[in-house]
Subunit: 404 residues, 3 copies
Amino acid sequence: MASSYTFSTWTSNGSICASKASKNNAEFICNYPNGNFRPTIHSMTTSASADISLSWISSNEKEINWKGGKSSLKNGVKCSALDFETKPSFFKGNKFHFEDVIEAQQFDRDTLSAIFDVALEMEKIEKNSAGSQILKGYLMATLFYEPSTRTRLSFESAMKRLGGEVLTTENAREFSSAAKGETLEDTIRTVEGYSDIIVMRHFESGAAKRAAVTASIPVINAGDGPGQHPSQALLDIYTIQREIGKLDGINVGLVGDLANGRTVRSLAYLLAKYEDVKIYFVSPEVVKMKDDIKDYLTSRGIEWEESADLKEVASKCDVVYQTRIQRERFGERTDLYEEARGKYIVDLDVLNVMQKHAVVMHPLPRLDEITVDVDVDPRAAYFRQAKNGLYIRMALLKLLLLGW
Amino acid sequence: MASSYTFSTWTSNGSICASKASKNNAEFICNYPNGNFRPTIHSMTTSASADISLSWISSNEKEINWKGGKSSLKNGVKCSALDFETKPSFFKGNKFHFEDVIEAQQFDRDTLSAIFDVALEMEKIEKNSAGSQILKGYLMATLFYEPSTRTRLSFESAMKRLGGEVLTTENAREFSSAAKGETLEDTIRTVEGYSDIIVMRHFESGAAKRAAVTASIPVINAGDGPGQHPSQALLDIYTIQREIGKLDGINVGLVGDLANGRTVRSLAYLLAKYEDVKIYFVSPEVVKMKDDIKDYLTSRGIEWEESADLKEVASKCDVVYQTRIQRERFGERTDLYEEARGKYIVDLDVLNVMQKHAVVMHPLPRLDEITVDVDVDPRAAYFRQAKNGLYIRMALLKLLLLGW
Amino acid sequence: MASSYTFSTWTSNGSICASKASKNNAEFICNYPNGNFRPTIHSMTTSASADISLSWISSNEKEINWKGGKSSLKNGVKCSALDFETKPSFFKGNKFHFEDVIEAQQFDRDTLSAIFDVALEMEKIEKNSAGSQILKGYLMATLFYEPSTRTRLSFESAMKRLGGEVLTTENAREFSSAAKGETLEDTIRTVEGYSDIIVMRHFESGAAKRAAVTASIPVINAGDGPGQHPSQALLDIYTIQREIGKLDGINVGLVGDLANGRTVRSLAYLLAKYEDVKIYFVSPEVVKMKDDIKDYLTSRGIEWEESADLKEVASKCDVVYQTRIQRERFGERTDLYEEARGKYIVDLDVLNVMQKHAVVMHPLPRLDEITVDVDVDPRAAYFRQAKNGLYIRMALLKLLLLGW
């Protein structure tokens, strides 16, 4: 995608970017709040972008740097510092204002609601309709460094539902096997040569951003270790919108393993973007929600409360979001695990105190933290939630490859 | 596919079904030979079907129950007791009268021969002809809990030869990995959200039926442990029809491991549906055909005979069906294994006594129970037999997704 | 593809072939330089080809024999001795004069340059253009007996970029698992029933040829153990052509593990087909280029020289081809490994002495034998080289399935 060599000079937000370029050489200067930089790109090949980012780096310039680098391969050299400040436009045909999906926090309210509109369109696509072919000719690589069949199938289904094709690998570790020891960056530079978009699952926090820095094609983070899993966070919030009809002024109960659950942490983070939300934390002592999230919510003026009474909370909530207690977190202490695990179960008793319009959600897989007799109740939303993951992923693929 | 909420009252075969339903609630009564049942479906979500089947169960009601449950999700509530009694119609455009393919025994003679006609059409489909695109837009999930590359490739080739797309997983166990422990039912409810049909291979007998109970989309059993492998049984009988030209009045020799061979047992079962068939069992003492099959054949008036003389049998048979002696069945007793294994080999000597029109079949893989010098003989049908598996699977996919 | 039973008699290059055939029987005599043979094909099934090749064999007749065998299944019985002597024709629409791609040496200069022309066309194919659909309806099976994600993704991308479909297996060993013990030949006969072309990776040298002998569809060798990996060799030489603009009269430095590197050995072999080439070997003592290659080069009048001074060599070369020192070759002697590994690194110092038009190549993956700061230099060609693999593989698939 290093095909477009248009360069421009422009002023925006008081910053000035100037650049000129020949086929194999481009220079630019960029003034931005944290100071100036003047990298020189000796070549317009993919690798170039990554390597300017390596050649001069500083924690907070990184963001700007690699975005700049990447942009230089696409539509002229830009500072993404400016990108982030420019207001998004959601009109059909407009470019999606992100080149990658790395973390849920990168989206503001307006963008989220615009993405949800696209996801809703995706639900309506009929077999063999024109809509089902919009990604025809596009190739998605699922680069999974650890298996996650559920997530992989969801992304691959999304791509194929839009007429796209898929290159699958669930043993991406083999790229960098002991004997070989290839870096993630080198692997990305190879795979980007074969595909149009990369969906990556990795065991290391931050790996997705490293991949995005390197790649000249879009990268979607499908989970990087304890880090982010943005498409999961988006489908959770989308499901609340779909089921409850609003995101402002709702009561949400987060139940189960709040200390280790990546999904509940991201969800709490995203809910803070909305007005008049109240969050209840219901969890065993050993796996309580951590202070960083509590402080963040407080700083954003979001009301929250801890409770030990699931039924009492359930009766007040629009959404009861149950999660699995993860045995692996307890090591030897299986006694603590068993105790924690049995403490807060969503069963018919809990269901009976819930309001008629309320829903039970769960990121899946579930063990017995929700009893199966709950499944038949229309308020059991967790399988519809899983299905929504398909529409959200269709939307993200469409937006990254085709724009609005 | 839980979209259609039409309900009706009807009389058929002296049974009466009455039902009424609101969007989220349906009731029905159903009289059938074995008595009455009145399940209540609290919700029209997919899971409902599974849960009525859990809520009341008895060995012989099961069949009816889950069929009933599933039907309720599709075109109104029905008793499959009636389904099974109503005569099938094989006219083009008619719905296939099964929602799943779970075991070979579910098909009667008429249905089998109608399926074979479709398989024959499949053989004639040309590259890039209209026929090669009939499943365009459909997505098949191959949900394999144990690897079976041969079977998986055959199904995936079948789907793609018809223009369909595939989601592959050969590590489906990962869904329910120790750490996670998801039930098969939950996995199915997730996967059915991503695909239009599920082809499942499982290590547990009965797993395919459990999946079919749960799924609101068609399920094909691609082998469930020691249980069934219907598409294999169908391709065997189809191959006999293709090679010999008839299924009535034939002599079939079943050779090798008759005690443990899933294929020979299913084949014997299916052959019993035809007239004037004679079956010869030729096997080492330790792996003789079991009495249940012998008794069944007798009860159906099928002549059968045990013999220790392979050549003598081969000279009389239209089909010599050789199977592999499975070492794993003998545990420590490798001496017994070696003895059993060497006893009945199909070689040129056996071939030379066979009639000109007769054929040698084998489910593959083979070790040395058929010598390679036999391969070049036109009567060696086993690779054509493997190829027929492709056409049978194309036919099943076509029928389940599009009907006759 | 064993459908055509046309037989003919013809004279060519002073050799005479005569044959007659009935549906199930064919005979032929064939005179060629190394003597006569008169195999009899008892049957026109695929297996026939394999089995004549088993029935009479001798090192240098093998080539002719199995080619003859295979031809007999396609367009009449031929001697490939003649095939090899007949001049290839590269006109559009003509049949590619090879049925398989087994080793780089099978291609002469003219054929290589014609293949490179096709690869160049492949680079120009636009998304959703007519060109991107030329393999629509074709099915490629990637039969990998050992994982090689890089090579597999490259081939699968190539197939899909041309509108073709893919059947993937990275656990082909499962076909012949201990319990089962199926031969490679039987596996091939099964897989050829499901697909139109087989791309095979195997752990045994010679396996690709065995597969080609058996298969009635094209086979591409994607690496067979220490043996051949022709598409890699082709992409290397294609990259030199693309980057330097010529293959005659160039200086090439082969650096690193020259004793074990399959790629450098094949490259040296192919370079010998060109005029006025000079090759420099730069490697640690323990992994020097072996005499067989040196002798071959000498016999072909190719100048070569060993040197211990990488910078001095780099300054004279058009191409510096760096390779990874493979730890696994040193066993316990990690001291030797560490010494060998650190000895010849391509870094900015080396780069600075290189000519402006010269390039650095590497088969990838790389460890630190090329420092990352080299990546941004336009002369760093290794990621473009990887991308060229895509175009070469597209070309091979197109040629084998559609011809010129």
